[in-house]
């Protein structure tokens, strides 16, 4: 099997499992509602089987395709009211879904294939379908004033539902409303769900905004026991009109009386309910698909538990008298056990959120093909490290920035073929994306073998666009910074792929919102690498708690290189900036109290002790000057209000188990705002 086949099989298996999972849940609902099942439940089951059949057929999974085809045929008759709802039928549906589940599992584990008797199921389905006499189809339109366009747009099923509603003596109404284009989907779904509470939305037909405006109009076909004014009250912004030719109560009542009796031999809902020995469906699948918001919720609970645990520890420390010591000892033991279990729980929850970054690789590959064609460049794309795992949310958020960087590399990095050949390179440009884990971070490198960044050219462009002044100091490091500056991106970057003509400044902002960093490493004529580093997850981090001017702050440990104790006399001033000589390196310092405008109550004598926390974001480091290091602990980052969001250097807030809320420092934006210094300037410079 080729890699493409593998991928298709994987995608099929995952979607099929998801479909069957939903299907099982819908079957439970079907069974619970019994004979009076809501038509949309049956239709939904039909649609799910229909999708499964389509998928299996395309990919050549013959048994799944045949079984779902038979099942679909039966469900089609069922939703059209051609066969009755019986216990046998529900059993058959359960058995079929169970078998489909097994067949899907057998795709990846062929040893299980023999467990399913498709022939037996097929004949059971056949018997169910053929035991029912064909009913004659009535014309649902004879009693209605329905326009041709609406008639033609009804599917066979919708026509059947209309007929059922007409027969049941329901009011048949047209509901017309014009929506704003920007949010018609939300508004219309909300309206539909309100209407479905009191009846059945049979069809939804979009139309041009008749008022000539820029909105979009919808015409719903609705069957309900409620009359026009009652429905008008449910849909206050809509125009409601009756479609029945004769809406006098007598006619409706007569139509109601004419409702057809249940087909002979059919069981009632009570019958179904009475025989509740239906075998339970045991899923053989080892995989469960979970809504990410549920995992978020679990993650939050874990966070809260960690806070509780910290409080327990704090309390234990306060027990000091002789009598209390025994209790403290025991409590301490419990707290330590709890701590261990909590870390395990936390690790497991984080693991369940992890997905391989390879999920977005095929999308990226497609973009590269498209961009290459658009720019008429030959590109050889290599994607590595697709198994590297990252938080699901982050993978989603990463797609756009990655696409943008890759596009940028092809557009600005890779030279035209002729220029490449002249420079002794192969005509095809090479772009490589490599993902790998590094400590608690995941790193993504986008590397091209293009012309590299020419600082002089960057300077010219930056001056032209007013990003820097003519006389500003400029070096390679500054060039790397400038390309991420707002306003630097060129207008010709507006493209369909990035969609909105955004520049690298937006990419940087997106990455920073994920608490990540982006940096660039370039060699003239040899190529450029954009390096994105991201924390594996956002919610819970290890932090160093520090104190400055009486306030506590949490610094994420991933940003901390080391911490050391110094004296005031060790601090020097170079170019009006406080620095400290750390081994052979001049480390710029930043007083945390200055950064957040706190009054500095520290004694400034030469023998005053300080702590320096050496922090790093990407290739830049800064020493944060604080009064004390409190301890190291896990913190749960909570987002803070909109107002504080704009303050540079704050990632969020956390509750560390004491009374006060502690701010979590975002080293990346702190350095951006107050300046840092490239630590490995020499290593970064051109070799």
């Amino acid at each position: 099997m080729t890699k493409e086949d593998d991928r298709a099989r994987e995608e099929f298996t995952s979607e099929a499992e998801e479909l069957l999972d939903t299907l099982s849940r819908d079957l439970v609902e079907f069974e619970a509602q019994g004979k009076n099942v809501r038509p949309e439940v049956v239709n939904k089951i039909f649609r799910e089987v229909h999708s499964l059949k389509g998928l299996a057929g395309m990919l050549g999974f013959v048994e799944i395709s045949e079984l779902s085809h038979n099942l679909e045929d039966m469900l089609d008759r069922l939703r059209m009211g051609k066969i009755p709802i019986t216990k046998d039928l529900i059993d058959l549906l359960y058995d079929s879904v169970d078998s489909l589940n097994r067949l899907v599992i057998a795709i990846n584990d062929p040893s299980l294939a023999g467990l399913v008797d498709v022939t037996n199921l097929a004949s059971r389905i056949h018997r169910t379908v053929t035991s029912q006499p064909q009913q004659k189809v009535e014309d649902p339109f004879s009693e209605l004033t329905l326009d041709e366009q609406t008639k033609k747009s009804l599917t066979e099923y919708e026509e059947h539902r209309l007929l059922e509603n007409v027969r049941a003596g329901k009011y048949i109404l047209a509901i017309e409303q014009t929506f704003d284009f920007s949010d018609f989907d939300e508004k219309l779904r909300a309206l539909t769900s309100v209407l479905n509470e009191a009846g059945e939305v049979i069809s939804t037909l979009p139309a041009l905004d008749s008022s000539g405006g820029s909105g979009i109009a919808f015409r719903l076909l609705y069957g309900s026991m409620l009359n026009e004014p009652a429905v008008a009250a449910l849909a206050p912004d809509a125009r409601v009109s009756s479609l029945r030719k004769d809406t006098s109560p007598a006619a409706v009542a007569a139509a109601g009386a004419a409702m057809t009796p249940p087909p002979p031999g059919g069981t009632t809902a009570a019958d179904v309910a009475a025989e509740d020995d239906l075998s339970s469906l045991r899923s053989m699948s080892q995989t469960v698909r979970v809504d990410i918001t549920k995992l978020d919720h679990v993650m939050n609970i874990v966070g809260e538990l960690i806070i509780e645990k910290t409080q327990l520890e704090a309390l234990t420390r306060q027990l000091t008298t002789q009598q209390q010591r025994m209790a403290a000892h025991e409590l301490g033991k419990i707290a330590r056990n709890l701590d261990r279990k909590l870390s395990e729980l936390q690790k497991s929850v984080i693991e369940t959120r992890m997905v391989p970054v390879g999920q977005i690789y095929s999308k990226l590959a497609r973009t590269v093909r498209k961009v290459a064609r658009e720019l008429k460049k030959e590109i050889e794309l290599t994607l590595r490290g697709e198994d590297t795992e990252l938080d699901k949310m982050m993978v989603e958020e990463l797609t756009d920035p990655l696409m943008h960087i890759i596009r940028n590399s092809i557009d600005h990095g890779i030279e035209p073929a002729a220029e490449r050949v002249a420079a002794g390179k192969q005509p095809e440009g090479r772009v490589t994306l490599t993902a790998y884990q590094q400590g608690n971070s995941v790193v993504l490198d986008v590397k091209d073998d293009g012309r590299g960044i020419d600082p002089e050219k960057i300077r010219q462009v930056a001056i032209k666009r007013g990003v820097i002044g003519e006389k500003d100091a400029f070096d390679l490091q500054r060039a790397y910074e400038v390309i991420f500056a707002p306003g630097f991106s060129t207008a010709d970057q507006v493209s369909e792929i990035s969609g909105r003509g955004v520049g690298l400044d937006v990419v940087k902002k997106n990455i920073q919102e994920l608490k990540g960093t982006i940096e660039v490493i370039s060699k003239p004529r040899e190529g450029t690498t954009f390096r994105i580093s991201l924390p594996i997850t956002l919610a819970i981090i290890q932090a160093l708690i520090v104190r400055a001017s009486g306030e506590q702050f949490a610094i994420p440990l991933t940003s901390v290189e080391e911490s050391l104790r110094i004296y005031s006399r060790d601090i020097r001033t170079v170019e009006r900036r406080e620095v400290f000589t750390l081994r052979d390196f001049t480390l710029p310092l930043l007083r945390l109290s200055d950064a957040f405008g706190l009054s500095d109550d520290h004694d400034h004598g030469p023998d005053t002790k300080w702590f320096v926390v050496v922090t790093r974001a990407g290739e830049k480091t800064v020493g944060l000057l604080v009064d004390a290091l409190v301890r190291q602990q896990e913190v749960v980052i909570k987002s803070i209000g909109e107002r504080l969001k704009t303050i540079p250097g704050i990632a969020g807030a956390t509750d560390i188990g004491e009374s006060d809320i502690v701010l979590v420092i975002d080293v990346g934006t702190l350095i951006d705002h107050f300046g840092g210094r490239a630590r490995e300037t020499r290593a970064l410079a051109v070799h």
């Binding site: 999708s51 089609d76 033609k152 939804t204």
Partner: protein
Amino acid sequence: MKILVVEDSSSMRAYLTTIIEGGTESYDLEIVEAASGFEALKTLPHHTFDAILTDINMPDINGLELVSFLKNHPVYKTIPIMVISTESSDEDRKRAAALGAEEYLVKPFQAGELIEKLRRLLKVA
């Protein structure tokens, strides 16, 4: 050239895209995907499509309702449409034709069939 693919199953969408991209390598073809009728409606004003491929059985609005809208729209009515659905819905096939859909493709189909109908739709050799 740009085409819109409306299909609620993500793997079917991926499959369609792969076939189309593989079979139309020689022209400059861009595919925009929509996972529902609503999404299709929302996408329309942002592009100029040369063809639309749509499934019938979808949540929100079905493929026929989408065709009806398009074929009654002053701007979109000229966009050729291919309806893709299954053999069990012969009646729906007739309705799609009555509403003005140019092509109809029955699932499951061969890759070559899809490409041939798409070429016919786009009027390219």
